[in-house]
């Protein structure tokens, strides 16, 4: 469902409810419900805010840091999160996620997403199996080819695994805005469930071709580097939020930046990463309330570019 149609139907429901005597609590309940998008290839709903783990969950054997990351996960699930994304490139992140999931009693809502990242197709199955064991999950919901590395070889494996029921969705990733031409070709030629790319309020190249293409092809979109790895937060945190940010419920910069991303109609889920439970709580605030419409999105861009 597109953002516009989702906003419209939501507004219509809320408007209709307003005439009823019990309108207030119901409207609030709807407003408080996590914002979700459907995965086009299945119709399954996903909350629009997920969790990345680049750097933040790579804490090695430090027990204190592992426990803090488990609390980050606790906050994520408690606030309605589902999708957790990782990669074999991220060092000990898979082990630390597995530790956190175990400590939390294996939350059933988990949507497990990881990647395969090796030059050789023959190494892919072993690497994915190592990741699965580290997470302690029966299977991954989503497996992606990391940074398009040997994508044709790995997609062959992923298609076979999907057919066998060893994973539910397959996809490809890129980041930092790189290799968009190659990604476009793969998106056009391959039966992908998901694509993952970099998109944020200042890096909007994906709006030109990849996001429309994903919508046309029925491919769900995960968005990485929503804050340019903290850089956008640091850049804007000294400035006030515009008064009109309250119209879509953004009370801090992370929510402002995340709501810009997930209000794009083609985006399914953004995957910000954090090492702190309080920052996770801030991020997850973007999962509730309204989303900015097209006019507000233009104002958001103009505002941050004026800072």
């Amino acid at each position: 469902m597109s953002t516009e149609s989702w906003q419209t139907s939501r507004r219509a429901v809320l408007g209709g409810l307003a005439t009823l005597p019990f309108a207030g609590p119901i409207a609030r309940a709807i407003e408080d419900a996590p914002i979700t998008r459907t995965i086009p290839s299945s119709g399954e709903a996903l909350p629009v805010i997920g969790m990345g783990s680049w750097i933040t969950f790579n804490v090695g054997g430090d027990q204190r840091l592992r426990d803090v990351r488990a609390e980050v996960l606790r906050e994520f699930f408690a606030r309605g999160g589902k999708l957790v994304d990782c990669s074999p490139m991220y060092g000990t992140s898979a082990e630390v996620i597995g530790y956190g999931l175990e400590k939390l009693g294996r939350p059933p809502q988990l949507f497990a997403a990881s990647k395969v990242w090796t030059w050789w197709q023959s190494n892919g199955p072993e690497q994915m199996e190592e990741q699965r064991a580290a997470w302690g999950v029966e299977r991954f919901d989503l497996m992606q080819v990391h940074n398009l590395l040997n994508w044709d070889g790995h997609l062959e494996t992923l298609k076979a695994w999907k057919a066998e029921g060893r994973l539910r969705y397959l996809g490809i990733t890129t980041s930092h805005g790189s290799r968009h031409d190659e990604m476009e070709e793969v998106m056009k030629s391959q039966p992908l469930d998901f694509v993952q790319l970099t998109y944020n309020i200042l890096d909007r190249e994906a709006e030109e071709r990849l996001l429309p293409l994903a919508a046309d092809r029925g491919q769900a979109v995960l968005v990485n580097r929503p804050f340019r790895q903290k850089a956008l937060i640091r850049r804007f945190e000294g400035y006030p939020l515009p008064d009109w940010a309250i119209e879509f419920g953004a009370t801090n910069w992370p929510q402002f930046l995340l709501k810009f991303i997930v209000s794009h109609p083609a985006v399914t889920c953004a995957v910000p990463a954090t090492s702190r439970p309080d920052h996770m709580a801030e991020n997850m605030g973007a999962l509730h309330g309204r989303l900015p419409d097209a006019d507000l999105r233009r104002r958001m861009v103009a505002y941050v570019e004026s800072l």
């Binding site: 750097i55 054997g61 430090d62 840091l65």
Partner: protein, 211 residues
């Protein structure tokens, strides 16, 4: 593009130091022996120094990078092989083809001694005053930064016909340290760069090199 932050790097050094203890004490003792042999050379001293230096690079290449840092950093195996290669170069240059020993130029000798002192004492202090404390101190012979600086120091003391090849890996490590220091804000890494660059300059200075 590091897959970890400075807190995790310090934490991993602390865990590493705890795991390899008392290797630090042995490494420090061997480093002092190497300095002693360099300052008061005797028959076979050059070869002994070469073996001791190569041992430090081998330890980093075969133990620190693959068994500890590789958990966190996918680049660690590459660093490990570079350190093993440097150990091989040191063995080739200092053990099988040791430099003939004219006395070191005075400036280079003083600089070499100062650098050796900083590698053995200064860098552990810099890293030890970080948030993780001395548990995360980088120790010569078992941590890459001090090992690079200590090697350059003893090469300055060795004088003479030190092949330029020996400067390649230390220079490459300077690049890694510079990026680490800049991206993660690691003082020890920045100190390594500040010490290594002039040391390499002195080592390759034409006046020090025989025709």
């Amino acid at each position: 593009m590091f897959p970890f932050d400075v807190e995790v790097l310090d934490s991993s050094y602390a865990l590493y130091n705890a795991a390899v203890w008392p290797a630090q004490a042995v490494a420090l003792a061997l480093a002092l022996i190497a300095v002693w042999l360099s300052v008061w050379p005797r028959r076979g001293a050059g070869r002994a120094v070469g073996v001791l230096l190569a041992a430090g690079w081998l330890w980093c290449g075969l133990v620190f990078f693959p068994r500890y840092l590789a958990q966190l950093d996918f680049m660690a195996p590459v660093y490990g092989w570079a350190f093993v290669a440097q150990a091989g170069l040191l063995l080739w240059a200092l053990v099988w083809r040791p430099p003939r020993p004219p006395a070191p130029a005075r400036a280079a000798g003083v600089a070499g001694l100062a650098l050796a002192f900083l590698a053995v004492c200064g860098l552990p202090l810099v890293s030890g005053f970080g948030e993780a404390g001395f548990a995360a101190a980088r120790v010569v012979g078992i941590a890459p930064g001090p090992t690079v600086i200590f090697t350059l120091a003893l090469l300055l003391l060795a004088e003479g016909r030190v092949p330029r090849l020996l400067a390649i890996v230390p220079l490459l490590w300077c690049g890694v340290a510079a990026v680490t220091g800049w991206a993660l804000g690691v003082p020890e890494s920045l100190a390594v760069v500040l010490l290594a660059l002039p040391a390499v300059g002195l080592l390759l200075w034409p006046a020090r090199r025989p025709g």
